[in-house]
């Protein structure tokens, strides 16, 4: 095959359109955000941006609302990852075996994953309002004393944002676990049974370890996705009451709305650094877990 230059059949210029779009509309804004995060850039006069050193970062770290949004973001990512993994696994174990209607149930559990987060947010607003479905059901069940304005104070609002997220995406984890479970050879279970292992032992020593790759995928996806959460908070509480349920992405949007572009960029940069650090640590941790097994 020396008659033609192999690479001539694959001209590099064909990659240029993609590279141009990707560079200009994704990479350039990232680089610019990094640079502008050290300036007093603002919406009133966007052509003027003066270098102010670390002032934006300092003021962020002294801003209670920012610190609160960091805390909420971390809490959100950790809690939803835990529950999506747990509930996804339970759902998968429930529907992976054949029984009447099992594929129908898979379809139902997965359905919210294809909906727009904004739409789901509005549906849950109707449920959680003071005069919403949940309270009305509670009154109907004689539990009227438990009724409250679920989105009106920090703790229930934060909980319900996370419950909504889990409601929406548990079916997604379920499907990843189902494909993980189906990949486990039946031989393992048969020989375990021959060795006299009971169902619980088989689950502990065969199923769980062999599902490690599924756990890795779900954890990584949900933690990084969870740190970026925006739509759901925006739709359900708008970061309120007050600034109580603010997360990093809504904080960035709020600073943007106030015209503080430099500060907003600084917050966005801190968010991306947080995501990179967490992803890196997580990969490291999960890989060492998989090797040990």
């Amino acid at each position: 095959m020396k008659s033609f230059n192999k690479n001539r059949s694959y001209p590099l210029w064909l990659t240029l359109p993609g590279l141009a779009v990707y560079t200009l509309f994704f990479i350039v804004p990232i680089a610019a955000a990094f640079l502008y995060s050290f300036t007093n850039w603002n919406l009133n006069d966007m052509s003027q941006a003066r270098f102010v050193g670390l002032r934006n970062f300092k003021s962020l770290l002294q801003d209670d609302i920012f610190l609160r949004s960091v805390g909420n973001t971390l809490l959100f990512a950790a809690v939803i990852t835990f529950f999506k993994t747990l509930i996804g696994l339970l759902l998968a174990l429930l529907v992976v075996k054949p029984f009447p209607g099992n594929s129908l149930f898979r379809t139902v559990y997965y359905l919210p994953c294809v909906l727009s987060t904004m739409i789901v947010g509005l549906l849950f607003t109707a449920i959680l309002r003071q005069d919403g479905l949940l309270n009305n059901l509670l009154y109907a069940a004689g539990l009227g004393s438990a009724a409250r304005d679920w989105l009106g104070s920090y703790k229930p609002a934060m909980c319900w944002i996370m419950i909504t997220e889990v409601w929406m995406w548990a079916g997604f984890s379920m499907f990843i676990f189902i494909s993980g479970l189906q990949a486990i050879s039946k031989d393992y279970y048969e020989s375990a049974e021959l060795d006299g292992a009971n169902a619980r032992q088989a689950f502990r020593h065969i199923t769980l370890p062999l599902l490690a790759p599924s756990f890795t995928v779900i954890t990584t996806l949900n933690i990084t996705g969870g740190l970026k959460v925006f739509d759901l908070v925006y739709a359900l509480t708008g970061g309120g009451p007050g600034f109580d349920t603010q997360v990093l992405s809504t904080y960035v949007y709020r600073a943007f709305g106030l015209g503080l572009l430099g500060k907003s960029s600084a917050a966005a940069i801190l968010l991306s650094l947080l995501i990179v650090a967490v992803t890196f640590a997580l990969n490291h941790f999960l890989r060492s877990m998989e090797v040990e097994r």
Partner: protein, 272 residues
């Protein structure tokens, strides 16, 4: 005997769980047919009579159809760009195997972990006079979805035997023919995966148009519905009708293409 009893136990448990998924949907469907008075107490009761005129009202005043059209334009064009650029780049860099293509691969890999910067994207749009235009939003969607497309296409092509290319070249295929006539058709599975993931992602995205689209004429469907809710927060019957109109086509599409969608989205997750 004991086995079949267990089977039905599973069905029972699974049905109970599906209630959690059905109740919000049921509330929405029933509510969309009620009068304002009936819907004031959000519950699961049947409407006195099914008021289809709620839907007529929403379609007339809510610019939902306009939102649909906008979402359709933005999604179809950006997905076409993602597939074309992603496939081309994936093919070229996985076949060349030289230093340049390895650098390009790494460059896109960076994009997979990087976070989109909306504030500077907004400023860039203003600078390029693309602010509030379809084209601006389309280009941003294409850019943020390209890393995933490039990496999945590239790893798929790596698994396509090089002999196919060589046979085509012996038959006299030129570079572009080789790419468009021979390789693109082979890549159907990875194309479907990318089509589904990017189409659903773009269609449902709220954040990008929120920053970049201020004109109500060009708003996508999630934004249209959110604004509609802002205007009609006291008329839940209309909000529910708007939500139903928005959700229904997506659900029908999901039920029809379920297999592809679920496989596409999970395959995307595992490879991404």
């Amino acid at each position: 005997m004991e086995k079949s009893y267990r089977k039905y136990l599973r069905t029972a448990v699974a049905s109970l769980i599906s209630l959690f998924f059905f109740i919000p949907i049921l509330m929405m469907l029933l509510g969309s047919f009620k009068t304002q008075g009936e819907v004031l107490a959000l519950d699961l009761s049947l409407p006195e009579e099914f008021r289809w005129e709620n839907y007529a009202h929403v379609l007339k005043t809510g610019s939902i159809l306009r939102g649909y059209l906008n979402s359709f334009i933005i999604t179809s064009v950006s997905v076409a760009m993602i597939l074309l650029f992603g496939a081309l780049t994936g093919i070229i860099i996985s076949r060349r195997k030289d230093k340049g293509s390895r650098i390009i691969y790494g460059y896109y890999l960076f994009g997979l972990t990087a976070t989109m910067q909306m504030v500077t994207t907004y400023a860039l749009m203003i600078k390029l006079h693309l602010n509030g235009t379809y084209l601006g939003v389309i280009l941003v969607f294409a850019a943020i979805n390209l890393p995933f497309a490039v990496l999945t296409f590239s790893s798929f092509v790596t698994g396509v035997p090089i002999e196919i290319d060589e046979a085509a070249r012996i038959d006299g295929a030129e570079a572009l023919q080789l790419v468009f006539r021979i390789l693109l058709p082979i890549m159907k599975p990875v194309t479907v995966t990318n089509l589904i993931i990017s189409a659903i992602g773009v269609w449902n995205n709220f954040q990008v148009p929120l920053y970049l689209m201020s004109s109500s004429k060009k708003m996508t469907i999630p934004m249209t519905v959110f604004n509609f809710y802002g205007l009609y927060a006291r008329d839940w019957q209309y909000v529910f009708a708007a939500l139903t109109i928005t959700i229904l086509p997506v659900v029908i599409l999901y039920l029809a293409l379920q297999q592809y969608i679920v496989e596409g989205m999970t395959a995307g997750a595992v490879k991404g």
